[in-house]
Amino acid sequence: MDQTRMNRRGFLRHGGNLVAAGTLAAALPSLVAAQGAVTVGFIYVGPRQDYGWNQSHWDAAQKIAAMDGVSVVEQENVPETAEVEKVIQSMIELDGAKVIFGTSFGYWDSLKKMAVEYPDVLFTHIGAIWKEGDPENVVGYRGYTEEAHYLCGMAAARMSKTGKLGFIGSKPLYFIYNNANGFILGAKAVNPDITCNVVITGDWNNPVREAETTNALIDQGCDVIIANVDSPKVSVETCEQRGVYSCGYHSDLGALAPNGFLTGAEWNWAAGAEFMQAFLAGEPYPNLKRGGFAEDMIALSPFGAAVPQDVRDEVMAAKQGFIDGSLILYKGPLKDNQGNVILEEGESIANSDTPFKLGVDFFVEGAIG
């Protein structure tokens, strides 16, 4: 905090800290964070081992903790209330954190507020909604998980015997539409006649409805299911019990279904380390970043035992296509599932066309429901 920002409140707080630091920190040196290391704070909205959204961030925390000169502190189950601001302050002032990863969408306003109060700390957010005028020490980043869903769709179509897939979505939001479309387009790339039943539960987290929906899809003949919910654990386990294939989302769920797990679409939030290093080195960094496989912002789960080598090779070749830009997700001729023409023959949308993807509110042809 520089001199011009030192007000009465700040003076009281820092004065108090000096006294307390003198008397208490000396008492237990073992508890003071390692000297010389950069401390990074991760804040999760739920339990970090949820086989879902929070775990994808925990994966990143572990990768970042393994970097040289970095130590990570983590706190889970932090609600999107006034508490998160106090947790951030505590991480910065008691743990000495220089970078804060706010891993829930609803932390956004709190992160911006704290960024003004602590201009020498970097804050990252997962919504990629930073805009001109927001603090410079806040960044937003987010992966194009639809590319990983495309690969899941390919594996799913190769493994399906009934030619019917199932997609369970949480909310009718742009990235859920994109993920479903990626899954279906990937499936149709290997089997043009395949269909996919799509069900939106309406909730981020509703394990009972997710289990019911999974069972209903299986009863309708779907034999590969992917669930875009906070934690696809219930759906994947239900598929395993019913003896059908499943794909994962967020983080690696292979351990939950040793027989039926094919692969999964994962985030690579550890890509945020790039902002962190630039910030700490005093170099410029973008405030907004989106990317897919080419930018290493998403990942594909390791294949399950059920997937034969030729399918693995085919999927990995498509992944290479996303990396080198030869594979385009949205390209014509493309219709939505109502029969409306989205793209004419010869038209295509660049994989990095964020404005288009933000506006996607349709399911492509082949989606049922």
């Binding site: 009281l12 820092h14 307390a20 208490l24 508490e83 008691l94 609803g106 919504g127 939001l173």
Partner: protein, 353 residues
Amino acid sequence: MTPVAIAQSREAVTINVAAFLLTLALFGVYVTFLGHNPWDVYYVLWLGSFARMISIESTLTNAAPLMLTALCTAIPARAGLLVIGGEGALVVGALAAVLVGVTLGGLPAWLGITLVGLSAAIAGGAWIGAAGALRQRRGVNETISTLLLNYIAIAVMYHLISGPIRDYERVLKTSSWSIPDSLRVGEMPFIDVHWGLGVGVIACLVLYVVMRRTSFGFGVDILGGNQRAAQVAGLPIDRMVILCCFAGGAAAGLAGGFEIMAVHGFASESLAVGFGYAGILVAFLARQNPAAIILMAILLGGITASGGLLQRRFDLPDATTQVLQGILFMIVLASNACYGRIGFLQPKQKAGA
């Protein structure tokens, strides 16, 4: 204070301090089994809750809504009711704050904030007051009805924020319209905690005086002791029960109002994060005494605040804080059996009495 009152306070303080120390000792045993040095853990508990200005602010921020929601259980409890509807009253108060707030953009801030606070309090008060009326007039058990009213309040909120009052601009988080900036209340002077804390402390103190120093409060105590006796004594028991429920509900509604005015600015699922249920815990820890609620809310706020640091320094699971809270709750409840049984804490009996 009379000698008897002094002896009673001394008894309460002694028993509570002993209960707290026993809680810490048991928690120390628990963390020792998890492989940590209990003294390190105590130090971190202290560091995270009270050792620094930032820790105190964190503690008080957590405590602020708990003071108000605890009153929702404590005030009806004095009239002999077990109300657990703080969560619902908070949500209803918050919804009222949003609905009234969005229409008041043009008013001067002081007037607008007062009106929003009042409407939150009235909405919460009516919500719990209705449960009181149902009990007195229709014999509906207030514990069951307030529990169910919680579910109804939260369901109504979900309905409103996902349709009728939804702000479609906020794409990824389902939430209501925002109240105008002129109605947002900031932090208190000298300390980085929002005004909900100050209002919570004032509400606790005012209700303490009302309950302990007025004939109304005396009447409520009689009512809480024995409703038949109060009826025979000619007390307007229906009105008193409903009024106590209204006051408690109003406090919780106000907590919701401050969640809107001071914290969020809009209604979302983040309102129903358990402040109402934690308030029940606080009310019981305080033995339904409004003044003691202030201290117990701060104690519980401190446990929550330092729980985060405990997680970070020792890599303990989040549930560790709940273990500590659980031990504290059980021991304080069990310690209620000690009142009147420990000889040296009793008021001295006059010879021959």
